[in-house]
């Protein structure tokens, strides 16, 4: 009986001693050059952040300027194609219409673009 009590007491003492070792637990600090190493890890992320800045400049400034320019170029291309179309083809097409529908109207060429100056 006494031995059992002594055993229990010694076990209890060991348990408390082990738990008390935490009271003196070592506090650790960061190793040297912590921030320098961290910076190295952040470099890819920082590069990714810079790339979207360039695209935002494109969106905010260049795209609004490009849109009217594209519209003007499109109109100019359309007009240019219209002027270059051969007169003979338009005259033939107009006469074909007159023949097909038996029109007695004046020559349609007077209404085509070549007569508009």
């Amino acid at each position: 009986m006494k031995n059992r009590k002594r055993d229990w007491q010694s076990i209890e003492a060991e348990v408390q001693k082990t738990l008390q070792s935490l009271d003196h637990a070592e506090k650790v600090k960061a190793k040297p050059f912590f921030f320098t190493r961290l910076q190295h890890r952040l470099e890819p992320l920082q590069a990714d952040r810079r790339a979207p800045e360039m695209s935002s400049i494109f969106i905010r400034i260049l795209r609004p300027a490009l849109m009217p320019l594209l519209v003007v170029i499109s109109i100019g291309a359309g007009v240019s194609i219209g002027y270059k179309a051969p007169t003979r083809n338009r005259t033939e097409a107009a006469n074909a219409l007159v023949e097909a529908y038996g029109l007695s109207a004046p020559d349609l060429t007077q209404y085509t673009l070549t007569n508009i100056r």
Binding site: E12, S21, V28, F34, L42, L45
Partner: protein, 189 residues
């Protein structure tokens, strides 16, 4: 610079503010990670992971909690994820050992055990204690580690764990009882 001003600067991507944050909190984060991982190199690496996470996520920080609370939360979550990963790896390595893999099993060892100058008795106590703490339920382990290794108050632990002070007290009581029982069983055998 107070936390609020620091956070405002961090959200604008101010590099100096981020450096100030790291210098101010790096030891706190490393020590917290060490409390869970019990390895100096791992704790340092994990602390770096924590600050990378802060860098990426600072614009989502809503300032409902203090900056230090947020840092503790990130550190605790990352450490617990690492511990779970390590357990899976150990399990896989043990399978490999059973099936005769040539790779040597690498144990994750507390530094006090790895330190040859540490007293043998101290080494044994540290090992037994580490195993006992690892056997605790997750919430008990978090509360106990933050209390013993970070010296956090019940109030602060409650903030980090997003719970109440009575809940923290209960967790710590249960943790202590479970540790005592575990250690008793060890020393009895």
């Amino acid at each position: 610079m107070n936390d609020s001003a620091l956070i405002d600067k961090l959200k604008t991507g101010n590099a100096q503010a981020f450096q100030d944050l790291v210098e101010q909190y790096k030891d706190l984060v490393v020590n917290t990670c060490y409390g869970f991982l019990r390895n100096r190199d791992d704790a340092d690496d994990m602390a770096q992971d924590v600050f990378v996470e802060v860098y990426k996520a600072v614009h989502t920080f809503r300032e409902e909690a203090k900056l230090s609370t947020w840092l503790y939360r990130i550190a605790v979550n990352k450490c617990l994820n690492r511990i779970k990963q390590n357990k899976r790896r150990r399990w896989i390595r043990s399978l490999q050992t059973v099936f005769g893999s040539d790779e040597e099993a690498q144990e994750i060892v507390d530094e006090s055990i790895a330190n040859p100058q540490a007293d043998l008795e101290q080494q044994e106590r540290a090992r037994v204690l580490q195993e006992a703490i690892e056997s605790l339920a997750e919430n008990q382990r978090i509360a106990f580690t933050l209390s013993k290794f970070d010296d956090l108050s019940y109030q602060k632990i409650a903030e980090v764990m997003d719970t109440t002070i009575p809940a923290v007290e209960s967790l710590l009581n249960r943790a202590k009882k479970n540790l005592q029982q575990r250690l008793y069983d060890y020393y009895k055998s």
